[in-house]
């Protein structure tokens, strides 16, 4: 199993408070991702990182920010938590496998155990 940990595993907070979730990897993988999982929506990408200090937005990035100051750590911050951000958050890591002309053929992702966040 890929070495990925998430902290905390569970958190209950109140609307308007800041929250930071941490993802830590020991695999030295270049790419890291934050997803949220809600019933009926599968996994939706919040932000991802393609290197230290290199990040990009996903499909549901509003209200979230990320930082990656080291290869092994990827932080997700909710600046002012809202009830709509109650969800299960998953971190993932990958190394892409380049295909022809350098385009990525596939990037198998390995997921952490998840953080259950409840915003009251």
């Amino acid at each position: 199993d890929a070495g990925i940990t998430q902290s905390p595993r569970h958190k209950v907070t109140e609307t308007g408070t800041p929250v930071t979730l941490r993802c830590h990897q020991t695999e030295n993988h270049r790419y890291m991702y934050w997803y949220r999982q809600d019933p009926g929506h599968g996994l939706r990408l919040i932000h991802y990182s393609y290197g230290v200090k290199d990040t990009d937005k996903g499909e549901v990035s509003d209200g979230y920010s990320v930082s990656r100051s080291k290869t092994e750590d990827f932080l997700l911050t909710l600046e002012s938590a809202t009830s709509s951000q109650t969800s299960v958050y998953f971190c993932a890591i990958s190394e892409s496998h380049p295909g022809l002309a350098g385009l990525s053929l596939y990037n198998e992702q390995f997921f952490g155990p998840g953080t259950r966040l409840t915003v009251l």
Partner: protein, 112 residues
């Protein structure tokens, strides 16, 4: 609207039965992956298919990638209670963006 549509959303069968789960899109993917997720855990990769028309077998699981690389299927033969879980397909678009698009999942319950 989901870029990847999975069907059915829920499936409850008896042990020993066969089943097929579908993953469809109007977009072309450079690769497609299937994951299985158990309650309280993160998804775990089952297989990656890359070539149009490709078929891969993993014991009782057979994965197929459509010729046009827009759809995929997962067939389970003689289901067992241990197959219970959420099955997710995920596709990589050939945009250079290193991110996957996930379907909404098929929740499978295999009854003893």
């Amino acid at each position: 609207t989901q870029l990847l549509e999975q069907s059915p959303q829920f499936l409850s069968i008896q042990e020993g039965e066969n089943l097929t789960v579908y993953c469809n899109s109007s977009s072309v993917f450079s690769s497609l992956q299937w994951y299985r997720q158990e309650p309280g855990e993160g998804p775990v990769l089952l297989v990656t298919v890359v070539t149009g028309g490709e078929v891969k077998k993993l014991k009782r699981l057979t994965f197929q990638f459509g010729d046009a690389r827009k759809d995929s299927s997962l067939h389970i033969t003689a289901a067992q209670t241990g197959d219970t879980g959420l099955y997710l397909c995920a596709g990589a678009l050939n945009t250079g963006r290193r991110a996957l698009t996930f379907g909404s999942g098929t929740r499978l319950q295999v009854q003893p």
